[in-house]
Point group: C2
Chain length 387, copies 2
């Protein structure tokens, strides 16, 4: 890239992104079912975290209400909060965001005089809960967005990383009204170190986000953009994603299997294999504290992210997120054993632990009644495992 | 870098920046007179535009007053405005920001109940006016910042690009109170395509900016950081800057000389050779419109930035900024001839042009009375020349 495109790669570039990269992205999006994207409906961002920040700056004023999953992606909570937004959580079940409860909340908010601006969803292999939004819920979401005049921010970082089941159309591809702002990233399919994401939206929305980006960082790294553009032009991204998918599927199986082997069923620790993405979401029995488990786990040199960080209402104290994409298969197997040891040790301290954690009684957002407790409880927790 | 540090360069990194790069930056800063910088006083940003944005987000609330040069850097006006700040302009003369007028304005603002939060300066080879803040004014600025409890944002993108005269200590290096937030960038000394800048400030300020950056882009490109770190470790940056300096000095001489040759003294077009930086700041006679000159220049395939863009009060209609670092010496010589032709053509249209532009009477921020009109008028204008 430096040899052939050095003068371009080392200079400033247009705020909306390199035209050649945008053309490659339009091709990617077309393969994903979002057809006919002109350059006026696309822009490059410095990672999709920047897109969350730009959307927040352009569309949210202090006090504005945003609806999001309970739990939902930490970085989105950070971006919305930085803009002064108030966050209203909507629980998930195994088919993703409970659209019926979303509608209830919208009605309640409207009754109390609040008009939310946008709803934030991660439809595919949600971070942290791993669940995927059902097809009917995707169309219902668009209908509700129309009824309540909401923007939908669809964050799709993991969409290409499916290990089981059938791909569902993105919410953006089903949108006929320009209500959906689709956020994508090269971080999970190429490299996070490039800090490259992109936005798909209505031309008017893209134009406003581009103006906001001017004051934020002028433009995204030209070097990173030309690297990605040239890699996409070789046509090797698909094979690379295929390889990544196979590797992560293997890691998920190894980790989930090792956890099943290591955890006693009587402990009441629940998780479910996601169909894609990077995370296992774990629910401990409701009286157990993930924070306290973390203390034990750190003594075993295993770390994870406590689930409460993903809950805008501060709930989820018994949940944790485990990442399975970064460690090796051997590290994952060892991590499962160490986590089990930490849990076993924590259980021997139950009286003390219970005394400490019981005062923090947790309001669990219940999923629909058709599932057993084990199937329900996984929709709460989160963890990042590092051995 | 990919061969030896690929795993690091392609991954997420810490929000405050790569520790190895920060150590190299501390060494750079020490050579520049800012000694004893621990990592808690430094952070990496995605270009120094991001630093302007972060400072605005952390320290400015809507309605807050910011003092800046008249003219000053466009991107700073954008970042402060995006935060809802009100901008108070302070004129420049050939020794930079008029600190006496800054003090007057602060007294006036205080009298009207306004307490400004910060003052923004580009002390070395200011963008767009090319002027350098005198040594006494640097210490006076710090005294005034103390008296009025202001933060000083010192933006130093061009500091290393001095072609004549003696380097003055940075305001940050003179600061004993932690009031100065120093902004630096690799854009002008290595490559703008990397989008790499850094901030030097009090540990408490750095900590707040790092928290804000988390929600903005998680971290700056690891690839760009490791590339810069490894280049700095080779010790070749100084020689590279030396080479850049020699090249730009040559271009400045060629362009300024060609403009002097091409412009009739009777036309009253003024500019002054800056001691460094990238820009020639040009003042047309007060009745002339740079915007109208741009129309003529574009027909000659020459472009520049109209000076009014750099004036927070909308003044400066007769000024323009010419960039001399990007075009080749041959292009600069040709650009000077074409600009002169555009000016000559514009002068033949004087009656029409005068009729159109006279209604926009310009409030010229006057510099001190000790300079002739020619010496005064350069402190207004700006231009980017592309042939």
């Amino acid at each position: 890239v430096l040899g052939e495109h050095g003068a371009l790669a080392l200079q400033y570039g247009p705020t909306e992104g390199d035209a050649g990269l945008l053309a490659e992205i339009a091709r990617l999006m077309e393969a994903d079912g979002t057809v006919g994207l002109g350059p006026d409906r696309l822009m490059v961002t410095s990672g999709s975290q920047q897109a969350l920040d730009l959307v927040s700056r352009v569309f949210l004023a202090p006090g504005d209400a945003v609806l999001c999953g309970l739990p939902t992606y930490l970085g989105a909570l950070g971006a919305f909060s930085a803009a002064g937004a108030r966050l209203a959580g909507v629980p998930l079940d195994e088919h993703g965001l409970r659209i019926d409860i979303l509608e209830q909340r919208l009605v309640e908010l409207r009754r109390s005089g609040v008009r939310p601006k946008l709803v934030y969803v991660v439809p595919d292999f949600q971070n942290p809960a791993g669940v995927t939004l059902g097809l009917e819920r995707r169309t219902d979401l668009l209908q509700i967005a129309r009824d309540f005049e909401l923007l939908v921010v669809e964050d799709s970082p993991y969409r290409a990383l499916r290990y089981a089941g059938q791909a569902l159309p993105s919410v953006a591809s089903l949108d006929r009204e320009g209500r959906v702002i689709g956020l994508y990233t090269f971080s999970k399919i190429l490299s996070p170190g490039l800090r490259l994401g992109w936005v798909v939206a209505d031309p008017e929305i893209v134009a406003r986000l581009v103006v906001a980006k001017q004051a934020v960082d002028l433009c995204t790294s030209s070097l990173a953009q030309v690297l990605a553009r040239e890699f996409l032009r070789t046509g090797r991204l698909e094979a690379w994603i295929e390889r990544t998918r196979a590797l992560y599927a293997l890691k998920l199986e190894a980790f989930a299997g090792a956890l099943e082997d290591a955890l006693e069923p009587s402990w009441g620790v629940c998780f479910r294999r996601p169909e894609g993405g990077l995370f296992l979401w774990v629910a401990l029995p409701a009286w157990m504290s993930a924070r306290r488990l973390l203390d034990h786990a750190l003594r075993e040199n295993v770390a994870f992210v406590c689930g409460s960080a993903f809950h805008c209402d501060g709930s989820g104290a018994n949940t944790l997120r485990l990442n399975f994409s970064y460690p090796s298969v051997e590290q994952l197997r060892e991590a499962a054993r160490r986590l089990a040891r930490a849990l076993a040790r924590m259980r021997t301290e139950v009286p003390a632990a219970r005394a400490q954690t019981e005062p923090r009684s947790i309001e669990v957002p219940l999923a629909s009644g058709e599932h057993s407790l084990d199937q329900l409880s996984w929709n709460l927790a989160l963890t990042e495992v590092v051995v």
